[in-house]
């Protein structure tokens, strides 16, 4: 069992929900990212989603676009993020998921990427512009090296597509809460609940985490009531960008408290 799956299993056993914060690697520097990761782990994050900067992040709203720009300016890219994870792996113990657009992986080479990711201690990948349809070529490498592949399911996905997404996802399934881009306003509806049910039923109970648009501890609590885990991205990036690490710590603690 992967470390991600094990974490969800453990949470399920004690009736908890996963808190999955997102931060951008190298925003504004890798030293800062190291500090952010330490705070996240200390404040009780279950899994961390580490963004890899890309020049054209078309699924992301302005907050994460700006974070990617800062990271690119700092010279951070997929190879340097892999080296970074390898370096900090002895001090950060929670599972790490890389969130990256496909082109940096493609350019690096599918097989080399998954091999090096494993060596670095990466646990999973989320690729927002990778569809089930195009995943045939790289999935075997992910499986070979034991990296979880977390696909996105959306409110627009019909039952048929939800099943497809559930099938190829390992570790957990990422349910995009809104029809939109990261950082937009959260809306939880009957569709949210039904889609999560479909994903779970059709996958033999794979965990489902909900993300996009979760910003306040109140929203995180609402999302946690529907899913096995909650992903918070843009709002966290906004918090650490303001610079006060004590405030950042308090905010993360509040989110952790809310997600149960």
């Amino acid at each position: 069992m992967s470390r991600i799956a094990a974490r969800f299993k453990e949470l399920q056993k004690r009736g908890g929900k996963a808190f999955i914060p997102y931060i951008m690697a190298g925003d504004p520097s890798l030293e800062k990212t190291r500090e952010h990761l330490q705070i996240l782990e200390e404040c009780g994050a279950d899994i961390v989603e580490l963004g890899v900067p890309f020049s054209d992040p078309l699924a992301d709203g302005p907050t994460i676009q700006a974070a990617a720009d800062r990271a690119i300016k700092a010279g951070v890219n997929l190879p340097s993020v892999l080296a970074f994870v390898k370096e900090i792996r002895s001090e950060i113990h929670i599972p790490i998921i890389l969130m990256t657009y496909y082109n940096p992986i493609f350019k690096h080479g599918d097989e080399a990427f998954f091999r090096e990711a494993k060596e670095a201690g990466v646990d999973g990948v989320i690729i927002p512009d990778m569809t089930v349809e195009e995943s045939g070529e790289f999935l075997p490498f992910a499986r070979k090296h034991g990296i979880d592949t977390i696909f996105l399911a959306a409110p627009t996905s019909g039952t048929g597509r939800l099943k497809k997404v559930a099938k190829v996802s390992t570790g957990f399934i990422y349910y995009v809460s809104i029809t939109g881009i990261t950082g937009a306003q959260l809306v939880l509806t009957e569709t949210t609940k039904n889609s999560i049910d479909t994903l779970k039923k059709s996958s033999g109970g794979k965990p489902v985490a909900l993300g996009f648009g979760v910003s306040t501890p109140e929203e995180a609590a609402q999302a946690a009531a529907l899913a096995d885990g909650v992903i918070v991205g843009s709002a966290i990036v906004k918090q650490y960008t303001q610079g006060n690490m004590q405030d950042f710590r308090e905010y993360i603690k509040a989110l952790r408290e809310a997600i149960k």
Partner: protein
């Protein structure tokens, strides 16, 4: 070949939120292709609204000046709104209406596709938002005003390189958010399947007309076809009907900007490598870690980091050759055609004319070249004056 792919190129690399919309679009398009009413409606608009067929004009003075092959110009500049873009925009607007969408969005570089889409929206009573980079809004100010006159909202894109690629990112983000009531009128043979196929099909009328017209004028098919390649819609539109004619040589002309060695260009085939960008796999100008590079061209419509996947496939097959013309060559061609033929070409099309000027003198006098004059240059006169240091 795998559905939606051209050899190893093409595909659907988009957020899951958009996949159902792409599947819906593919179904609607396949139905429309077989729907006699839809096709008759499109044909009627082509004839009575766009003004098709556009002429195939023998450029006598340019031919004499160059002293080689006979040069014919396919006059897409005479199509309504001033370029070939209207063929696709109107086709997709009809399709959107049929699908029950009430809102059109589009990206634009030179502004021609934005104007064409705003026109289609006005004609069919749909609301319309056009995304345009701030750099392009400045160099194509006239087209910005035209779009607004037509009732479209033009949204300035201030992120990234502030050109066409960033406008596409924003249009994709809008589509992801408003996919329920909105159709994204992608303007070129690019993006996720089924766009490269749909745009090619609507544009292939250019080549079908040219075939009939050259047969009437010369009693035979041409030896060479030349067109400029940004995303690649006017070139694919001209070339597609001739792909099976093995004796016809086809050349796509990319934007060489300040020259390949300067790094300031948009020649994907000369300076790029295979990548995945904005929904499709094709040639891409990218860094060694897979970030998309900024491009440069005097022509906003060719200033783009990637190229249609079918072009990449045709290039690998050796069926279409690709070359480039630099800014200075395009600007010289812009003036040459204006003075010799009384036709002011778009700066995009000037790249095709520039290659023709190089090629024609090397060919025998009985050979025939067809150049796609994809758009008219009225939109560019201010920018050319600025480059020449002339105050208007």
């Amino acid at each position: 070949m795998k559905k939606g792919h051209f050899g190893e190129y093409g595909g659907q690399y988009v957020p899951e939120t958009l996949m159902p919309a792409l599947i819906e679009l593919e179904k609607a398009y396949n139905t429309a292709k077989r729907d006699k009413n839809f096709q008759a409606g499109f044909r009627s608009l082509c004839e009575h609204y766009i003004g098709r067929p556009t002429p195939l004009y023998f450029a006598k003075r340019l031919t004499e000046h160059l002293g080689g092959a006979k040069i014919y110009l396919k006059r897409e500049d005479l199509a309504h709104t001033g370029s070939h873009k209207i063929n696709n925009s109107l086709g997709q607007a009809l399709l959107a209406k049929q699908m029950g969408k009430t809102r059109l969005i589009a990206e634009t570089g030179a502004g021609q596709h934005g104007v064409a889409t705003a026109t289609g929206a006005a004609l069919l009573g749909l609301s319309c938002v056009i995304y345009m980079g701030s750099v392009d809004m400045k160099r194509q100010a006239l087209n910005v005003f035209r779009m607004r006159l037509l009732g479209a909202e033009v949204r300035e894109v201030k992120i990234g390189s502030r050109t066409l690629k960033d406008a596409i990112n924003e249009a994709l983000r809008d589509w992801t958010t408003n996919v329920g009531n909105t159709h994204y009128v992608l303007g070129t043979v690019f993006g996720p399947h089924p766009f490269p196929e749909i745009v090619r099909d609507f544009q292939s009328i250019i080549g079908r007309e040219a075939r009939k017209q050259i047969m009437k004028a010369e009693g035979r098919l041409p030896d060479y076809l030349i067109a400029c390649v940004g995303g690649g819609s006017n070139s694919m539109g001209l070339f597609h009907d001739f792909l099976k004619e093995e004796n016809i040589k086809m050349t796509g002309v990319e934007a060489g900007g300040k020259g390949i060695e300067s790094g300031r260009h948009a020649s994907r085939f000369a300076g790029g490598s295979i990548g995945v960008f904005q929904g499709t796999k094709s040639y891409l100008l990218q860094s060694d870690v897979g970030n998309v590079l900024e491009t440069y061209s005097v022509s906003a419509g060719l200033d783009y980091a990637s190229v249609g996947p079918e072009h990449a496939f045709m290039r690998d097959l050796g069926r279409i050759e690709y070359t480039y013309a630099i800014d200075d060559e395009a600007l010289a061609a812009f003036e040459t055609l204006s003075r010799l033929e009384g036709i002011i070409p778009a700066l995009e099309s000037s790249h095709a004319v520039a290659h023709c000027i190089k090629l024609a003198p090397t060919l025998p006098k009985d050979s025939i070249i067809v150049v796609n004059l994809s758009g008219r240059g009225d939109k560019d006169v201010q920018e050319v004056a600025r480059i020449k240091g002339i105050e208007l």
